[in-house]
Structures are given as C-alpha cells and as structure tokens.
C-alpha cells in the first residue's frame, strides 16, 4: 500500500522532471543563460581581482566566501551533533 503510493508519487515527480528537461537549454551549450549571466566575470576577472588562477577557489573562498563559512559551520554542527548524541555521559 505504502509502496504503491510511493511509486505513484515517484512516477508523477519523474514525469514532471522528464517533461521539464525538454525545455532546458542544450547540454554543454556555451551560450546557455547559466554560462553568460554571472559566471563569466568569475573566469575573466579572477586573476585581476584576486590573483588566484583557480576560479573555483576564488569563487569558493572569495566571491561566495560567506557560503563557505557556513559550509564549514555545517560540518562543525554535524561534528558536535554526533558528539552530543552518541557519547555516553560520564
């Protein structure tokens, strides 16, 4: 019963997702919106603005460094969560 309901939901969600892929920009298209709006600056200006040749590092640590701080906090949260939940209190 539960499995049939799950299967139906899965198929509906999958159908919607398949349907929407038809309207995506072509895969690997250099002119797709995701590649021309924000990201060119990261590639073209990374040396001039940060002196770091690796664009992934400069975006990770500088342009969107604030996200990365919370990424570190996420893993810190997980660390103390595991510590608190599982350690026997003495």
């Amino acid at each position: 019963m539960n499995k049939i309901a799950a299967l139906i939901v899965t198929l509906i969600a999958g159908g919607v997702l398949f349907y929407s892929t038809a309207f995506f920009p072509k895969w690997g298209d250099p002119k797709q919106p995701a590649s021309i709006h924000v990201s060119p600056r990261y590639i073209e200006m990374t040396l001039a603005e940060t002196q770091v040749p690796n664009a992934v590092t400069s975006v990770l640590a500088d342009y969107r460094g604030y996200d990365t701080m919370f990424e570190t906090s996420v893993i810190f949260t997980a660390g103390i969560a595991v510590m608190m939940l599982i350690r026997r209190s003495r």
């Binding site: 770091v52 990770l60 810190f76 599982i86």
Partner: protein, 155 residues
C-alpha cells in the same frame, strides 16, 4: 568493537604511509590556489591518515597522536579562523569577509591581500574538516564508548 589486526605487513606499510598521506593533504591544500584542490579536499585526506591508523592499529594508537580534547578544540578552531578572518576586516570598517582590507594589516596590496586571505580561510576549512571527520568516524565505530573500547584494546 575495533579488532586488533596484528599483521606486520599492514602495520609497517601504514606506519610508513601515514606521513606521506599527511604531506599529500597539505600539498592539496597549498596548491588549491593554482590547481584543483583546497581546504575541504586536503582536510579529508588528512583525516584519512588518522582513520588508517585506527584501521591498521587500534584506537589507542590514533588517540595517542591526536587527543580527544585536542581534536574537539580543532573542530572549533577552524571555524574560528574562518570567522576571525572575516572579523578582521571590521577593524578597518570594511564589510565582513572583505579580504582586501587585510592590506592594512599586512604589507601587501589589496589584491594580493585577497590571495592571502583565501589561504587563511582555506586553512580554517582544512582544520575543521580534518578534526570533524576524525571525530565522527571515531564516534561511529565505537558507538560513543571510547573508554570501554580502549579498555578492550588494552586486554
């Protein structure tokens, strides 16, 4: 829980490998600016070296190299380095995480300061990732009972 393997080949090879793994972790971190790599990847590799110690030897060996309390402090230290770097730019009334302001603190120009600022925060990421990975792994394999497992190993 964690069985002693008592195998000479495994023990010797891992003992030799551990420093190399750690140096490789540092290499990945340091070269994050110019090639694929960075704090997270480096931290994972560093953590792998301690995990190898637990697998090849026992819990005691790993704890001897990295104390539990030290590890807990390392968990927090990394986030502190990251956020602390962000706070530094407040000193010169810059926005949070504006590494360009670090040029007031160190003798560099604002653009090079961004380069060093990134190195600092990547170090923070590396420390936290390494410490937390080790901590989660040890907590999971011993199911939280570090002391009892240590005593079992001692027998």
């Amino acid at each position: 829980m964690v069985k002693d393997l008592e195998d000479v080949v495994i023990r010797t090879v891992s003992r030799i490998l551990v420093p190399f793994i750690q140096i490789y972790g540092l290499y990945v971190f340091v070269h994050g600016h110019g090639s694929p790599g960075g704090g997270f990847q480096g931290g994972c590799i560093m953590a792998a070296s301690f995990i190898l110690l637990v697998v090849a030897f026992n819990l005691r060996e790993s704890k001897r190299r990295l104390k539990e309390r030290t590890n807990a402090i390392f968990c927090a230290l990394g986030v502190f380095i990251y956020a602390g770097t962000g706070y530094l730019s407040f000193l010169y009334s810059g926005n949070f995480l504006d590494y360009g302001q670090l040029s007031n603190l160190f003798p560099t120009d604002p653009i090079k300061a961004r380069y060093y600022g990134m190195a600092m925060i990547e170090l923070g990421v590396q420390i936290t990732v390494m410490a937390v990975m080790v901590s989660i792994f040890l907590d999971l394999i011993t199911a939280g009972k570090h002391e009892e497992t240590l005593e079992e190993d001692g027998k």
